[in-house]
Amino acid sequence: MAAIAVIFSKNAVHSALFLLLNFIMLAGLYILMSAQFIAALQVIVYAGAIVVLILFVIMLLGAELGESVPTWFTPKNMFVALLSLILLTLAGTAVKRNFPENLSTLNTPSDWGSVENVGMALFTDYVLAFEIAGVLLLVGIIGVVVLSGWERKIEEIGPTPIKQLPDIPYIQQEDIF
């Protein structure tokens, strides 16, 4: 399973490539469920954009080997692995208890996940949520621009008066304000 390899590969680039494999497998599963729209979205957004962005940042920072000495099998890691196993058994038993017999999906129409149907739902019943998603993307764009441009602008101008304040004695600070 590719997901396990994401965790256990020492090189972060290998991790990202295994993540890509994981996403593409999930897209295949969506196609198997005849949810074509979601599958296309998965490939475009996750495999196309997010993994490329992560890979770009990994290579930009040169952070391939963040953990130079991989210290597995410490007591803490064992405890964490045990915790996630417990989580897995809890979720698994919950699923098995609540869905004991095979559920029938045969009455689901086969064009249930087509672009036409999902788009119709998206632009009629959920148009407000759709527009809020657009606003969210805009806010994200502005946030990233501010985050990556702000610091450098301050460095160009030089230290601002606020940064110099600690050098001034305390009584003079009171006069300023």
Binding site: S15, L29, G66, E67, L103, G113
Partner: protein, 102 residues
């Protein structure tokens, strides 16, 4: 075509989520932690789609669309923050980000 029951998709989503949660807790590389968070979101998406197929509705798919939007924005902003942090701390190890004052 043979229909795979919904239960198996839910079990697979549970496995994926557990692996992602374990990865977040075990790994110390911030970028790998990001990837594990993405994996957990994918597990949630898988449950949404499985149940949407179960009930033959499009609502679950609209939810997945929203989750993907949020994930894209989250990755963009998170990576921008990470690059800024790296400029200050010169490390991606999450244990080195222990000071709020930079």
């Amino acid at each position: 075509m043979e229909h795979i029951p919904t239960t198996w998709y839910l079990l697979l989503a549970a496995i994926l989520f557990s692996i992602g949660a374990g990865g977040v807790l075990i790994r110390r590389n911030t970028l790998v932690i990001f990837m594990c968070v993405e994996m957990m979101m994918n597990a949630a998406n898988l449950t949404f789609v499985a149940f949407a197929r179960e009930f033959g509705s499009t609502t679950g798919q609209v939810f997945v669309f929203m989750v993907m939007t949020v994930a894209a924005v989250e990755v963009a902003i998170g990576l921008a923050i990470l690059v800024e942090l790296y400029r200050h701390v010169k490390s991606v190890n999450i244990d080195s980000f222990d000071s709020l004052k930079g």
